[in-house]
């Protein structure tokens, strides 16, 4: 429960320290425009204190949020190859190189194992910053490794989705990652291990149409875009404006595709609780 303390402390101390924060270190909420210091924003886990807007965070942020302190990352060296020699306005290899340099990441997902409130777990978490969190061969393979690790350590698997969908530059190969990840989840199921899917903003396309929707438990953060076809495409198809809240977590839950919506600050305890329910 260490994490709760940290958060409470953060909230009580930051207001007092506000004046001391240098200019330029501010976070302006894109939804309600309210401004807080970057430190304060971090203390609230990148969630707007005023309106509850959940800003996108990285795989590493989720590892730090969910694991009890230390964790071990696996398959760190996996990198995309370019069997199709894909080139649009840019070469795929150059695109990957540029984004690697910019983000320091190797691909759009990271896998780690550790403990969540003293229970072992494997987490695969996506990074939207890497080509829109798109799923290519590396994402598929890393999820495969995550499943293998979960089976080997008899741990639950948690996949945190955050993706624009399949990676076009890997064409048919990226499409097949939908099949590959679903095949691996069959193995996890065969082993009798729980899979908790956490859908975060945004989860769309081929990721929604494969592992993200296949959780034994499907959880979402509030107001996350969760879709197969994105809102722009749907709007074009139907030729009229979309209803308020369309394809957002609350809408998706009301239509029966999510078990629960959990605020970021409650994620760890809720996941730990679910894991304990599966285990006992």
């Amino acid at each position: 429960m260490g994490w709760f303390k940290r958060e409470k402390q953060g909230i009580t101390t930051t207001t007092g320290e506000k004046k001391e924060i240098k200019e330029g270190l501010w976070y302006k909420c894109p939804k309600c425009q309210s401004v807080v210091s970057s430190d304060e924003h971090k203390e609230t886990l990148n969630v707007c204190k005023t309106c509850g807007h959940h800003e996108r965070i990285t795989a590493e942020d989720y590892f730090n949020l969910l694991f009890d302190g230390k964790y071990t990352e696996i398959a760190k060296g996996l990198k995309s190859d370019d069997p199709l020699k894909f080139e649009d306005t840019k070469k795929y290899v150059d695109r990957v190189k540029a984004v690697e340099e910019k983000t320091g990441l190797k691909d759009a997902i990271r896998v780690a194992h550790g403990k969540i409130e003293s229970q072992t777990a494997v987490i695969a978490a996506m990074d939207f910053g890497f080509i829109g969190g798109s799923m290519g061969s590396v994402v598929g393979e890393k999820i495969a490794r995550a499943v293998d690790k979960a089976i080997a350590t008899e741990s639950p698997l948690i996949i945190i989705s955050k993706s624009g969908g399949a990676r076009m530059m890997e064409a048919g190969l990226s499409l097949m990652q939908m099949a590959k990840t679903s095949a691996k989840l069959n193995q996890l199921s065969e082993a009798g291990l729980p899979y908790i899917s956490l859908l975060t903003d945004p989860t769309t396309g081929g990721v929604t149409a494969s592992f993200a929707m296949l959780g034994d438990i499907n959880i979402a953060e509030p107001n996350a875009l969760i879709a197969f076809a994105g809102p722009r495409v749907v709007k074009e198809t139907i030729g009229r404006d979309l209803p308020e809240g369309f394809q957002r977590s609350e809408f998706v839950l009301e239509h029966g595709f999510l078990d629960l919506i959990v605020e970021r600050k409650d994620l760890k305890s809720k996941i730990a609780q679910l894991m304990a329910q599966f285990a006992n």
Partner: protein, 319 residues
């Protein structure tokens, strides 16, 4: 009036000449058989010439040829009229873009499931242009389970420009429906043969595309996105569809080389639409061969091999 694609124009010209010669013989009694024979020889050479250097984009066009046979054409012909269509997902409705039911091939009952396109404007709308809603995928899954229960092999015929991106489709869980099918198809304990007969667009195709043998007709395409949409997203213009078709490696030979599919079925000279009987016979032979092959495999082994096959897909480096 038959439809000719742009690159089929030289074929059209010769087809016209043949027709004229035949009309002359019919109307005047003049023997034109020699001319017709020569023209037919010329036609063959012309077609061979055009088809030996088809671009990926031209194959995409062929896959959408308005006279190309659709799922029900194959099924009705292959089952010799024994096909009984079964309707509905038992939940919401019957999706006309997805059809399915039992039919017999030489005494063997087979479950057929496929996307269905329409032949004219009215039919196209009725079939929603071969773009299923979630109900279509759920109907397909219901039929897969029915086949499994009674130990009948499954054949899926894939021909879709994509799953329908509509408002209700999203409300009723298009993503979940496709995901569920992919997941469940891995574990169905009867042989599954998937044949891409026309367009194999993205998750909408894969939603009925998990099988022991995945087959493409020679002039079909299969990829994560259509070349037009790929062009629009990556080049921000519709004009790069030819280039996108090349880059996507979406033809049957590309996909076979990438080991994403297992087999290519040859089409008649000039494409499936120029000789339906022949393409029906080729597809029937392919189905029979594969059913025989996979019926010999024990159910648990069939499933584990199917899972292993898809787990092996992907190209990456490092560790």
């Amino acid at each position: 009036m038959p439809t000719y694609l742009d690159f089929e124009k030289p074929i059209e010209a010769i087809d016209e000449e043949v027709k004229k010669a035949q009309e002359i013989e019919e109307n005047s009694g003049v023997d034109t058989s020699k001319t017709v024979k020569e023209l037919e020889k010329k036609l063959k050479t012309t077609i061979k010439g055009i088809y030996s250097e088809l671009t990926p984009w031209q194959r995409v066009q062929l896959s959408r040829h308005p006279e190309r046979p659709y799922s029900l054409d194959y099924i009705n012909h292959i089952t010799d009229g024994t096909f009984i269509e079964l309707h509905g997902d038992r939940n919401v409705k019957d999706d006309k873009a997805m059809i399915g039911g039992f039919g017999m091939i030489d005494g063997q009952t087979v479950m057929f499931v496929g996307q269905q396109k329409g032949v004219n404007t009215k039919q196209r709308q009725y079939r929603n242009f071969g773009m299923p809603n979630p109900e279509g995928y759920r109907k397909a899954l219901r039929l897969f389970k029915l086949a499994e229960k009674f130990n009948k092999p499954i054949v899926t015929l894939i021909d879709t420009p994509g799953a329908f991106p509509g408002l209700e489709a999203e409300e009723r869980g298009q993503g979940e429906a496709i995901a569920r099918n992919i997941y469940e198809m891995m574990n169905i304990k009867v042989p599954i043969i998937c044949i891409i007969i026309g367009e194999g667009a993205s998750g909408g195709a894969l939603g009925i595309g998990v099988g022991d043998q995945v087959v493409m007709l020679e002039n079909s395409w299969y990829s994560v996105i259509s070349p037009e949409n790929c062009s629009t997203i990556l080049w921000r213009s519709w004009d790069f569809k030819e280039k996108a078709a090349e880059q996507l490696n979406l033809t049957s030979s590309d996909m076979k080389a990438l080991k994403i599919i297992d087999e290519i079925v040859k089409e008649p000279l000039g494409g499936a639409h120029r000789n339906r009987e022949e393409v029906f016979a080729n597809v029937k032979a392919c189905i029979q061969k594969n059913i025989t092959k996979y019926q010999k495999v024990e159910a648990s082994k069939l499933v584990s091999k199917r899972i292993d096959k898809f787990c092996d897909m992907g190209v990456y480096k490092g560790r």
